[in-house]
Symmetry: C2
Subunit: 308 residues, 2 copies
């Protein structure tokens, strides 16, 4: 017996993960069922890096920052001798790692701030149109996971409202999330820097200041969900320890909940990594998934295809 | 000749304000018209206090804070002699005003923080169910402006997405905004205090800390719009100087825009105030409306009814 709704997840192999998703959706959408949830409360939250699109060999927004530093370098000859800039210009990932979070934050501020929101948008758009992923030789926003795009549409088709809740920059993601995922800007939540309203030549602008406003990662994710959505999600999807608190917060609500982790097990079509990865480390959350019975997707086994 | 769409604003008298609204909506929704705007971009933002509900004799959330201080007073005998608490307990608005913004902020922190988000919601709900507005002898959330509720529905019926962008507390408003205005929590934007994710007895909670996170007023409003919505509105509705930057930001976008100020001119049915009011002061923005040709609603003349 084939259920009608299964036809919507054609890129997913039959297995426990697909079955868990379809069963959950059937239960919360069955009127007069014990687990029925009204449409307005069908909130589903998705991490982005490593959950909806690829994050290897490094977070794509990080690669954008590096490209931006290189583009700005001619105006900053002193960077040739100053870390963490030297590491970027030399493509020296080891020296970059040694500069730590502080170094990375400095790179983000220099590459993302000191301009208006409109100038930033133009810079990111230009990068998206021209930069290519080295391994796959295609634009970064092509590297979204098709089974997840299908899942987003499947949930929306069942009355869910889908949100991104990511450590990535909120204004960086909004530029392509609508086209890539069908998620409008107002449903994209992320990290942000401080912006300031100013009048310039009688025209109002928002200026991006080199100061962190909010880091939407780990324990920050439930805080951001509460701030932006104001309702507890009934379904949450992630892939790393940075998503654990978001899944815990989702799971702790009353009634039926669905929590899923994507396990990168596919070195051939994408990457295989978890506990020891610098990017998207999945360690504590994988243990929590075992204890709490969260659904773990095995990319290699569960997905018929990865990219479009 | 009567237009079909005019039938939707039955609580508005015919006049320049109603005509300006209806004309704007007709132009942005006319396909192949020069001013057509796709549905996804039909974002309309509304201030709350004094724009969607009453704000006299004092912001209702301030009155909630005072009631909360009175309820907590038995545990704090020292408040009898300490400002700004003494002013609240003595109903001494003059002493309260003298304590300034700093005093008010202290009252907000004591009455709004130190509890979890769920505890806060329960306290506000209890207050809404039991407190009454002194002049009108009815619950505060009954004092929403019916012509504005009608306008919200009219805009949504024409493909707009309606948001609240208010100096009021984001978690305070979300508890009743959906029922009162048809605006879901994720479309309510406001001021906020810092919240922190914690595990308590194995259960995650969000604790409200006595620290301001964001003040959604004046130049903060365009910042909040950019942060939460990520698109520039095409229509903005306010009533005080605190809304001026929001209207400027809205007006400065490309294409047709609509900006409206509600002028409180109705001492009989509500209140008459503008330049000299402690609450909802309308001075600079009224001048800006004249210069920029924003629509000014005259409550007394333009509205058939005020409350439900």
């Amino acid at each position: 017996m084939t259920r009608t709704k299964d036809k919507n997840l054609l890129l997913w192999n039959d297995g426990t993960a697909k079955k868990a998703i379809v069963d959950f959706v059937a239960r919360v959408t069955t009127k007069r069922g014990a687990d029925f949830v009204p449409e307005a409360e069908r909130i589903a939250v998705f991490d982005n890096d490593g959950t909806l699109w690829c994050e290897q060999p490094f977070y794509f927004q990080g690669l954008f920052a590096f490209d931006r530093i290189k583009a700005l370098a001619p105006e900053h000859p002193e960077w040739k001798e100053r870390q963490p800039f030297k590491a970027v210009l030399d493509n020296d990932m080891k020296a970059l790692a040694a500069s730590g979070e502080k170094g990375l934050l400095e790179l983000v501020m220099v590459s993302h701030a000191g301009i208006t929101t409109e100038e930033f948008q133009a810079i990111v758009r230009h990068w998206l149109d021209n930069a290519q992923h080295r391994r796959f030789q295609r634009p970064y926003h092509d590297l979204v996971y098709q089974p997840m795009v299908e899942l987003l549409a499947y949930l929306r088709g069942n009355g869910f409202k889908t949100f991104i809740v990511s450590g990535g920059g909120i204004e960086f993601m909004r530029l392509w999330a609508e086209e890539a995922y069908g998620i409008p800007p107002e449903q994209v939540i992320g990290s942000s820097i401080v912006t300031k309203f100013e009048m310039r030549d009688g025209k109002p602008v928002l200026v991006r200041l080199p100061q962190l406003n909010f880091l939407d990662d780990k324990a920050g994710k439930p805080v951001a969900i509460n701030q932006h959505i104001g309702r507890r999600p009934i379904a949450a999807f992630g892939n790393s320890d940075g998503d654990m608190e978001m899944l815990q917060w989702t799971a702790a609500g009353d009634g039926l909940r669905f929590c899923m982790l994507l396990h990168h097990t596919d070195a051939e079509r994408e990457w295989a990594y978890d506990r020891d990865s610098m990017v998207g480390c999945l360690d504590k959350a994988l243990e929590e998934a075992r204890v709490r019975n969260w659904t773990v997707v095995d990319m290699r086994k569960d997905w018929k295809r990865v990219f479009g």
